[in-house]
Symmetry: D2
Subunit: 338 residues, 4 copies
């Protein structure tokens, strides 16, 4: 099979990682990079002399490419992705897919109509620890999921024109969608713009999923500690996924409450606590972005739907939209119908 000819649009913080990975993937050939800043293009060229570079991404449409990655600021995602699809290219868009759910849906429909692959860069779904966690859940080891609590905190990086909700929460929401395999039925959010007017830098999001599964997401650009944590509380096991740990990313706790259950009355209130062993599984960790790029290549070649398909990107954007509305409305609960 011929190598996929790849272009990358946007060579800022994330672009170099994308280029490096596609260079190393046997089934792909890194052809061109586009960025508005010539110094960024020069930087790319210094490392990969054979790369073609341009400040106008329309030039990429003349290079016989098979696919592009859109790694530009989120405000530009929709227009660039639309143009690329229009020119018959398979597209991987960095998260968030777009800034409105209408735009996201339009891209999905456009890709479908053209039989092109549309994938969104929800990187954490390609993280080996998230995979292991998902497997524990699908294998039934965790039992019934009670609730999931996530936190993604650090100091910075403030971004122009994007609040912390749109910057950090796509990671957690996509992880939740991946773990629970269905979208939430309602969302509420609270937040605060502490440093810059109207740019929320801390947000708390409450999501209700089917079967009374509660999820809560805490994102912040204003925390002294770097935190990337997901806690899944199930009836059989509890699991903490701590992405900051270099090696010991998952801890599986054989802990729980063995009570008479929800159906019993309070009069018969008895319960016992189970404190069992903790297991830290050895997980073979690779670079999640590498897995993601490889998956993009594979999906195009095999004409398969990506795990992080356009419709998942649409779901994330719609949840963010609703959270944003709730946050502007004193945490009023937004109902989501799918």
């Amino acid at each position: 099979m011929d190598k996929l000819r790849i272009g990358v649009i946007g060579y800022g913080y994330w672009g170099p990682n994308l280029v490096r990975n596609f260079v190393e993937i046997p089934g792909a050939e890194m052809i061109a990079v586009s960025d508005l800043r010539i110094e960024r293009l020069a930087q790319a060229k210094s490392i990969y002399p054979s790369l073609q570079t341009t400040t106008n991404y329309f030039d990429l449409f003349d290079m016989d490419l098979n696919a592009v990655v859109v790694a530009t600021p989120p405000t530009t995602h929709h227009n660039i992705a639309r143009d690329c699809l229009e020119h018959g290219l398979n597209v991987l868009v960095e998260k968030p897919l777009t800034l409105t759910s209408d735009d996201a849906l339009a891209l999905c429909n456009q890709a479908k109509a053209s039989s092109l692959t549309l994938m969104v860069g929800h990187t954490f779904e390609y993280n080996a620890a998230v995979h292991a966690l998902r497997k524990l859940m699908s294998d039934g080891d965790i039992g019934e999921v009670h609730y999931i609590d996530t936190a993604r905190l650090n100091l910075g990086l403030f971004q122009r024109g994007l609040n912390v909700l749109w910057d950090l929460a796509p990671h957690d929401i996509s992880i939740l969608l991946h773990l629970l395999q269905q979208p939430p039925v309602s969302v509420s959010a609270h937040g605060m713009a502490c440093v810059f007017k109207d740019i929320h830098d801390v947000a708390y999001i409450t999501l209700l999923f089917p079967n009374d599964v509660l999820a809560h997401v805490h994102v912040s650009w204003l925390d002294p500690c770097k935190v990337r944590r997901v806690t899944v509380v199930g009836s059989k096991k509890m699991v903490v996924y701590n992405d900051i740990e270099a090696q010991e990313k998952l801890r599986i706790y054989d802990k729980g409450v063995d009570g008479p259950g929800l159906s019993e009355s309070q009069d018969d209130f008895r319960c016992s606590y189970r404190y069992g062993d903790i297991i830290i599984p050895n997980i073979k960790l690779g670079e999640p972005l590498r897995t993601e790029c490889q998956h993009f290549v594979d999906c195009i070649q095999k004409k398969e739907k990506p795990c992080t398909c356009g419709m998942e990107g649409y779901q994330v954007v719609r949840i963010l939209e609703a959270a944003q509305r709730s946050m502007s409305n004193s945490g009023h609960q937004e109902i989501l119908e799918w």
Copy 2:
């Protein structure tokens, strides 16, 4: 000055700690313990043979006591405290003061009318680390407070007839009142009853304080890890108070964002991050309950208002009431006027 003659009503989990502390305080004399369970009274008697014991707390009113501590289940707090005040006794009530704000206010009025001390056992306000944190804030070291995030998590202990909100959140809310020195203007809450029907075991509370200070409280009886953490994010410093740490309870981070400030437009979006030293102050830790008991004795003898006075107990109960209403109402924001 004569020693204060003390009685303790309720000798369950917390009662023995109260008795032990009053035994050791020079200005107090532990006279009697009341509990419905004779085996608990026998246990008390075996350690302190000179203690008087009774299954009827009304017997305490004939013992010429100066003060009692109410350490019975929360549902009984109001009636017992009311009876004690009626019999001219100064009263320390364990948290929460009562289960309704009307009851709490009635106790406050009753104590005031009788010139008796009414104090509530918000123990964490007597914790040396909380004091050190409060001092950092009042000294201006932290700058303007942006937001405060707290978490109090563990596995168990489920209590009959009380959900996690009323069991754990009084600690965090009293800490917030102590740190910010004013009550919140609104409260919203979300939660879930995962194990027992209608008994919420996880809750998230969002509080808005004057001057746009946000606070968020996470309490859970269903977490694999024991967590007791308060993070204060200020414009000059950030502080994490981790009560689980044996020694290093406070970490003061010289970190922040030095931006153009809230008044600037996004067009002039520039900011720099400050990453300075971390200081872990040496804090002389005593037993907070000892400080609390001593404070109760001192306030009675000096006729001074306790730090954790009845009115603070009332505030905590009113906030919990509002949070409970919000939680039953999809997180609808409750406005609090004081």
Copy 3:
């Protein structure tokens, strides 16, 4: 069976813990406490009014006791224990048993001749985590033991007339004897007296056990961190026992090197590393001293040899003696024949 009548000699730092435990053990009755300081005796009396107290431990010999615990400074252990045995009492002596191996052996012989129980307070052998570790080893889970590394560090407490070797190392050496079930064949030690002339406050001890098992003990009164750690490296598993952790005291690592083995030549140098799961077993933790006191009572009543018998106390003292000689002699290796 009648309750054992117990006396405690020495009511300093450790004595109150001993008294409290014997008070709570059904098979024992705490009769008397002896200490040279009347204020210590008054303190004991204030908590346990029925206790008899005396400044002269010979008074205990007229109280019809069955057993005494010697918790005085180590310099006095030998004489007091000898007197107690002479008066027909079973004896538990705090560590170290004596300050010379001759004295230790004399006590053992005296106890044997009188058919009395002589036990030494090597408390860590009654620690549930040490038990679990020993079981892992005896069950073969760890494989062949390669080496054991221990560290017991803190700041202070300097003791008059005793260096860090005699104060802290008895714990580690008794743990090693318990884990390996045999005494070492040689010992070397290095140390330094940093703060007080001639009182070593840091020491490193190297012990060689049969079958080429290496052990190394680091003890220090001059470390900024409190450390109590034992690492057992075996051919199948590696285990870290961290006594500072409140709950997660043991971590069992399924890690190792699967090489061609010792018999192979370097020319055929190939090996693979095994990185498996980590298991943190749930260990039901009690107070080790309680287990120890109960064991003392049981051994007397059942006429059984204690786990931490006098001869083990003798072994520890002889190893310490040899380590002390080595330390004074530039780390010269001392051979131990048993």
Copy 4:
């Protein structure tokens, strides 16, 4: 000033890091790489197409180079470095400089006679945290140094023909030389070959420095945890340098014993403990190897002696030689005269 023309001999584990750094240093030009394995050369070429490559390092002598880095297995260091110096090249040799002190001294003399720079890759001396620690010591903040304890542990990597002493201890010994600014007066060592015959995989080294400063080094290839720790205990402060921590590498403890001092008799035994704040300084961390490579370039250009000069390399090798002898001789103390 013209750019230094650089060659790298040995493109195994460390070589690629060296090449990458010299490529990025403005004052240097990466010209050629030599390695016996053509697949390694192909790998280098694929990343840096303009690099010259050869399996025979003698070819480098015809390329008008100014300097080479020797990153081959330690057994080859002496011969290759000697050849390079003979051909008038400045040389940076990876640690350990050689396997015998005679060889090391010969290289030093050869470099001196030829006025060439001979530097050894003791990378940790270019680590910003080590620099900060050294500065605390030279500024007098730590007071008199009592002792230094180091540990460098992990699982693997076993190396052909080199034991753990020669593989890992050069790091710790060079750190000690840098911190204390003088060589030790004696060395003792104990160790064990657990997995492969005659290849020691765990070693404990005791070094005595002038002024009764004790140092102890623990190195192991057989530990379940990755540890890289240096503890400096001084009379005023204690410092822990933990290289495993991503950010918080130094912790400065204001702790100590304020006693009557070494001159006092035991009869007057009194001391007080100082428990002050802990400071975690913010240290701007760069890549130590980058600093090292830049220093090599600077030293050549400015004709200055490197911090990690050949003579320091000689000192490290002589200490290792003595430790090896001691280890083979039951820990017999080796006296070092300089």
